[in-house]
């Protein structure tokens, strides 16, 4: 029993820290996104609240909490309330296995990567629940689009993850990071990285693949009817989802917490990890404010006709390459 206490304590601390991190991440990203969008569009962005508007998101948060939660008349009430909560849970859980640094990780288990992918796909369910319970045709459109989109883009994500798993022979996040001690996998697997990143954009419903919430067609997609905190939970979940996708990309391709050695590197490796993750997230923001939206059939075609065949070829080449590499090494 006594040996369980530190584990439970660690898990508890992590749960609290991670939920807080989800909110802080949304605040930071919300601010950065608005500022970067403003820079791209040649305007100052939020400037009024605090120096350079850094407190804008705090004020927005207070406003959103103060808002009334309106439930449409014919909506399915319990499901309607439940959907935003459910959207937040699956993005907090995978933080358990994310290795911020060598020591900063709640729990490293051998199927960590699969755990993340599995939990993250619950996200689709929440969008369906939100879309269905709103009793709004636009919401339902958004939900249906989201299902098709997520199903078709999960395949290339998994296939490109599989390439790395083949190379390292492990699903453990920490193990994959440690395997990149000498060289980051983006140099060995550039195509897998590109495929993963594009599919990840689609998984997080970001522009140019933001069809579930395409505002010029579906007003706001699955969260049309949500106001106040329900809406903000969806937004926080979206940013947390972005963080997840980018942190997986960092672990798999960009060497995780590897970088120049800092003092107390078992902990300060988190600095490199977070830097890489936020750079990737800012690339996502950059893409969002630059590109128009693709059409739905083009989106699915893009996945099934281009991403999946390419990632299959990449996977086959990886398998052959590993075999050749091993036999050559065996001969030497």
């Amino acid at each position: 029993m006594h040996e369980l206490i530190p584990i439970i304590a660690r898990a508890l601390v992590y749960a609290i820290v991670m939920i807080a991190f989800g909110f802080v991440n949304a605040l930071v990203m919300g601010y950065l996104e608005r500022k970067i969008a403003a820079k791209i569009q040649r305007r100052p962005g939020p400037m009024e609240v605090g120096p350079y508007g850094i407190l804008q998101l705090v004020v927005d948060g207070i406003k959103i909490i103060g808002k009334q939660l309106i439930i449409p008349k014919e909506a399915d009430g319990p499901l309607f309330r439940f959907a935003p909560l459910l959207s937040f849970a699956p993005v907090v859980l995978p933080f358990i296995v994310i290795p911020f640094s060598k020591e900063l990780q709640a729990k490293d288990f051998s199927l960590g990567l699969l755990f993340i992918v599995t939990i993250a796909s619950i996200n689709v369910l929440t969008i369906v629940i939100a879309g269905w319970s709103s009793n709004n045709k636009y919401s339902l459109f958004g939900a249906m689009r989201s299902v098709a989109q997520n199903i078709s883009f999960e395949v290339p994500v998994l296939l490109s993850i599989l390439c790395i798993a083949l190379m390292t022979g492990t699903y453990s996040m920490q193990g994959i990071v440690q395997a990149q001690d000498t060289v980051w996998f983006i140099l060995i697997q550039p195509f897998a990285f590109i495929i993963y990143f594009i599919a990840g954009l689609a998984e997080t419903n970001r522009n140019p693949f933001d069809l579930p919430e395409a505002e010029s067609e579906l007003t706001a997609g699955y969260h049309t009817e949500y106001s106040g905190f329900g809406f903000s939970l969806f937004m926080i979940a979206e940013y947390a989802n972005m963080f997840l996708v980018c942190s997986i990309a960092t672990v798999l391709f960009l060497g995780g917490w590897h970088g120049f050695k800092l003092p107390f590197f078992e902990y300060t490796g988190a600095f490199w990890f977070l830097t890489k993750v936020y750079v990737l997230m800012l690339v996502m923001v950059w893409i969002r404010w630059t590109f128009p939206r693709v059409r739905f059939d083009q989106l699915l075609n893009f996945s099934w006709k281009y991403l999946i065949p390419f990632s299959l070829v990449n996977l086959a080449l990886t398998a052959v390459g590993i075999k050749v590499f091993e036999s050559v090494r065996g001969m030497i």
Partner: protein, 383 residues
Amino acid sequence: MINTPDISITPVPPGPGEKAAKAHRFYLNLGPQHPSTHGVLRVILEMDGEYVLDPQPDLGFGHRMHEKMGETRPWSQFFANVGRMDYVNAMAFNHGYAALIERAAGIEVPRRAEYIRVITAELNRLASHLLWVGAFILDLGAFTPILYTFDDRESILDILEDITGSRLTYSYFRVGGVMKDIDDTFISRTRAFIKQLRDRFPMYETLVNTNVIIKNRMTGVGVISPDMARRYGVTGGVLRGSGIPYDVRKNAPYSVYPEFDFLVPVGKNGDSMDRYLVKFAEMEQSLRIIEQALDKLPEGDFRAKVKRIKLNPGMTSFSVETARGELTFFLMGDGSDTPYRLKIRVPSFSNLSVMPELCSYMLLSDLVTVMGSFDLVIPEIDR
């Protein structure tokens, strides 16, 4: 990279399958408060999944009785109304109405006034085109271009504000001329603006027009054949996009347009991309007209001395080319200063009338693209 749309749904023939197919259908209410209808247009869509089977526009939410107002008060009191019909291109409406009254009363306009009219009308046309380019790309999901086009449009509005006193709903034209003469500041600012916009064109070209997603979203979407365009009487960029070189400024010239050297760009396929590129090319032509007009600007009066006007009994009409197409004012006078009948033929109405035929069996996203490519101004339709 991505194919042109493959519309696999065809109408179900009458028979056993019809009922089952109809059970899937539902109605979707697009508007009147939808982000992509740009105003108060309501479109009732009969849908099957993501496919639009039958779009029916429902008009009249912004009806303000402009025509009736024109018939119940003297022409001079109606003048402020014309700019409110199409608030994006008010100068063209000013031009149409002022020229109509001049024709009905037999008034000669000084040449300098005509030149000023052309310059300001073309500047306003540019403002309208710039607004539309941004709003159309916004419909396709890219938020950034509209802020750049607004930046350029802002320069035009500033220039026009200086001489007209208003930024959007101008009443700058007077019967017999214009309200106020233009000065050297106006001329130098306009020349600076021409250079500024010319410098911007390559950026729009590389960032927007050649973007692969934009191309795929527009090419082959909403093809209007020349025959269909003629049947519905569409005008303006929509007609020219279908390859018919009709522009009132060329085909039935008014004002001093025959004195300028400009081209009428036409499209080839009649799809949304052509409509977009046609308008884009028109901006360059407008710049050319303004340049030439500034070079040739004659000295003289900017307004004719006009005594009390009586509208001649009988029918008069006057057509101008607005940013959206042919605008016709039709007036029946009875010898007093109040028109007996005033009919306004607006371009957006006939352009929108294509939609039910054009957009049946089309994806919802394509409907939004097509609607955007028409450059609709709803208050002009409802008036």
